[in-house]
Symmetry: C2
């Protein structure tokens, strides 16, 4: 099976969204460079530095499935049915939102996180399953199911908002030294979770 | 005047000490390499990687004064009167601990953070004033007096303990892209505070 990788942008003080659920301060690096990077969503073209392009291409290229929570799904309106990474999306949600599932979108809904992960891994095969929601990141960490944490560390202090990491069930959780890609407005740090 | 730089080791989830005030998980990088780095305290010899040696030498070499809080001072027993960086120490504390000040130690005590910083800057001249306590880091950040934040980011999730960053008075606080030095068991990230 492929790896399970949590990939999120985080402020230096640990937040993935501000107190109003905004990500403007964290996602600037997607649009602050000269390299056009088309995504699977035709409405969405990133303009990144060469460094961030390498990071994103590698991530998009290896993604076989993406898991997110309902909050992120709603906030992005389900990425219009097509996630920029171009892979099937598995949403953990107690209910299926109105209008979904859609025939034109590989988006499915699961009530529990483990069921979603199993389904995502089945579809992804040898490719990576990406996790893009903090609560699921923590749940898979706690369950020993997360292989890597890819933090795009943004040079800003938000002070409050939604944290990436919560208190784990077993502490501490040790990680390997990160693979580092230095972007502009972001430092991409990919850590292996040590068992 | 020299720069004011907060320099601390922090877990990826934002803690500078665990729930028991322990720093074992965070300070391993001081002793996990082959390069002997004597400090100003003759009892303390670091054994670091070449990368961390470059980071530490640069920090120790430029330090003209160090500011800390009473908690850190007590925990280290005042570094035996001689901080590894070899510079005068300014402790922010409501009271002067018994046995201090000592004739054989350049350690002085100040009831308020701003007074301590002014005294430290006077002694440091063109050299750096290092801040090594999270509460003071936040206070100087809030007062617009901090020039850089040097985070030695350690690949571990502690889950709970003492956080480096609290809620700032004005949010967000933007930083420049960091200078990155990749060590073993640590990634040294030095950020400029943007005004």
């Amino acid at each position: 099976m492929g790896k399970v990788v949590a990939a999120l942008s985080m402020s230096l003080d640990g937040f993935v969204a501000d107190e109003h659920d905004g990500v403007g301060e964290l996602f600037g690096w997607y649009m602050n460079g000269d390299v056009e990077l088309p995504s699977a969503d035709p409405r969405r073209v990133f303009r990144v530095t060469g460094a961030s392009e390498r990071y994103l291409r590698s991530g998009f290229g290896s993604s076989g499935a993406l898991i997110c929570g309902r909050r992120l799904f709603d906030r992005t309106d389900g990425w219009g049915g097509r996630h920029p990474a171009g892979c099937p999306v598995f949403v953990v949600s107690h209910s299926v939102p109105g209008g979904w599932p859609r025939d034109d979108s590989e988006t499915s809904f699961f009530p529990d996180p483990i069921g979603a992960l199993e389904a995502a891994q089945k579809v992804a095969g040898e490719r990576t399953v990406s996790v893009s929601t903090p609560t699921l990141t923590q749940q898979y960490l706690d369950a020993g199911l997360l292989d890597e944490i890819a933090v795009s560390l943004v040079p800003v202090l938000l002070g409050t908002g939604t944290r990436l990491f919560r208190m784990p069930v077993v502490m501490p959780i040790r990680l390997g030294d990160p693979e580092v890609i230095e972007g502009r407005g972001v430092t991409h740090l990919t850590y292996r979770v040590l068992r």
